[in-house]
Structures are given as structure tokens and as C-alpha cells.
Symmetry: C2
């Protein structure tokens, strides 16, 4: 499937996408996803099922598209004035989101369709962009900054792995310890 | 869904599971998974669809069960005589498996059903058991050994994150660098 990033806002295509996404989100909020069907979503969105099949091909692809759209950050990371403060605030919010039941379901949806597609890549790219913004602000202030790969590999990856593959709830002490370690290395 | 770990081998229930798993694997090997249905699997396995619905509830849960069974290691890790050699050999094989198209599809299937279930936890547990065997052998030989958490958080997690969430093919230099770092810390 293809994530419809390039749709002209306000066009017919964008209105269809917005209506289908909204209908999917509403139905997901009040019913079991195992019972959700494309005809149901079509009826709620006021489009024909074939409109949905033509564009998204199947339900997992539509759910993945909706999940990725919801995982896209809607604001720049909070500003606390320090690198450590910004990273702490961002991680706390991120961990809360992906540990929540809707967050876990969205992550699974985003990974669930054809593994050749780029959805999961988008999730990692969104996170990297947020960290890049935080690190860029710190660099402007003249703070020593860690590399983005170090943050992705040794802070984000272990947190996400424990939550998604280990079904654990990670404690703040865990991710703060990971941050301490990466930040200590920038000062060596 | 429930992974059927406790089934008595050879019983009727185990025979049904083996037939349904085998039919699912065969159909997955020769058709697109988007076209796979429970009635098709039932016909191939020689059981009724309601047998499958009663036991696995829905197709994502069945696919997850099949994927987790395939991800379960079928042998102890290769013995090379050193900790570093064993870890290198195990990682090389593991990365090959999860980077392959069937490996990526299995990982997605394992994560795709109800996120409250324990499938993804099983994947992490299988990996941890393999690493535990390798580290245990090294400790018996008197080699200094890293903690399992360090191996999971700083070697396995970044490798899996890049493959699953970043859709990257990780190079041997990447995971060897991660291993170097964790092993260097055991010698401090």
C-alpha cells in the first residue's frame, strides 16, 4: 500500500481520505477491531466500498494508513530550555503514548500490512525528526549533543523493543538510565 | 488469542493444530496473504472452518500462532568455543532470518493480532533464551560475560528496531560494533 502523503488538501481525493480516516477512527473507538469491515467503514464515511478497495486494497492497509497518520507528531517537541529537559519531556510523552492500549494497537496496525511497504519506516522517521529538532535547538545553544544514531539505537530502540516485543511497561528509571548513558558519552 | 504451548503431543488437539499449521504454511508459501481465508485453510487441513474459528477466533490470531511457532528456535546456538564467536554466529543467522521476506512477514504476523496477547513477548523470550545459553556456556569456561539486559537492550533491540521500524538491511559492521561495545564493558 501507499501512504497518501502527496494529496492536495481540499481536493476530492483529500476529502474522501479525511472521511474514511475519520470513520475508521470512530468505529475503532467503539467496536472490536476483529469485527470491523470495509463495507462498515464505507457506510460510516458515506462512500462506496469499491472506493475504499480501489484506494487501500484491503483492511490491514487502511488500518496501517490510519495508524501512521495518527502516529505523525502534530507539534514540535516541548521546549524546556535544556537538551536533557527536552529529551526527558519528549520521551515521557512518547512512552506514555506507545504503552497505551490505543498506542500499542496503532503500532501493530502500522506494522501489520505488507512488510515491503514504508509504514514502519515512517514511524522511525517521525521519531528521528523530533529528536533532530531537539538536538538542533541544543546545538544552537552551544550544548554538547549526542548523535542521532546513538539516540535512536541506544534510547529509542531499547524502549520500543521492550514495549512492542517484550510487552513490558517501561519505568521512567529505565529510559532515564539510557539517556544518562548516551549523554555522558557526549561529554567524554 | 492463546499460544497453544501446553498441548499434549499426539492427542487429537495436537493433530488438529499440526494439520492447520502445516496447511497455513503451505498456502502462505504459494499465495498472497491478503487472499488467504479461514475456509481455504480449513479445506487444505481437512477440518471444518468452525474448528479453526473455535480455536483461533480469527485469521490474524492463527497467522500469529503459526508465525510464533516458526520463530521458535529449533536447536541450541552453534558452539564455536568462544563467547564472541558464539554471539557472532548467532547474530549473523538471526539477522539473516528476520531480514528475509518470510522473516519480516512472520514478525509482522506475530505482532499483528490483539496487542494484549503474549506472542510478541514470546519472540523476545526465545531470543533471550538463546543468548542465555551462549552466555551460560561462556561463564562455565570462565570468560567474563555481559548481562542479558545489556545484550537485549544494546545489541538485539537496535538491530530489530532498524529492521522492523526503519526497514533497513543492517550490515555486519553495525551489529559487530554493537557487540564490541557491550563486550568491552564486561572487561572494565
Amino acid at each position: 500500500m501507499v501512504v497518501k502523503d502527496g494529496i492536495r488538501p481540499g481536493g476530492r481525493s483529500a476529502r474522501v481520505q479525511a472521511a474514511v480516516h475519520a470513520a475508521t477512527r470512530e468505529l475503532l473507538a467503539r467496536m472490536d477491531r476483529a469485527e470491523l469491515t470495509i463495507p462498515m467503514i464505507a457506510a460510516a464515511a458515506g462512500v462506496t466500498p469499491s472506493t475504499i478497495y480501489r484506494r487501500w486494497h484491503d483492511l490491514p492497509s487502511l488500518l496501517a494508513d490510519v495508524a501512521v497518520a495518527r502516529l505523525r507528531p502534530d507539534a514540535e517537541p516541548a521546549r524546556t530550555g535544556t537538551l536533557r529537559g527536552d529529551l526527558d519531556a519528549w520521551l515521557e510523552q512518547y512512552v506514555d503514548e506507545i504503552c497505551s492500549a490505543p498506542g500499542r494497537a496503532m503500532t501493530a496496525d502500522a506494522l501489520a500490512c505488507d512488510p515491503r511497504d514504508r509504514n514502519a519506516g515512517s514511524c522511525a522517521a517521525y521519531i528521528r525528526q523530533q529528536l533532530e529538532a531537539i538536538v538542533g535547538r541544543a546545538a544552537e545553544r552551544g550544548e554538547p549533543v549526542p548523535g542521532l544514531d546513538a539516540l535512536m539505537d541506544h534510547v529509542v530502540a531499547p524502549v520500543v523493543y521492550r514495549i512492542v516485543f517484550g510487552h513490558e511497561t517501561v519505568a521512567p528509571a529505565f529510559w532515564r538510565g539510557l539517556l544518562d548513558r548516551v549523554l555522558a558519552e557526549t561529554k567524554r
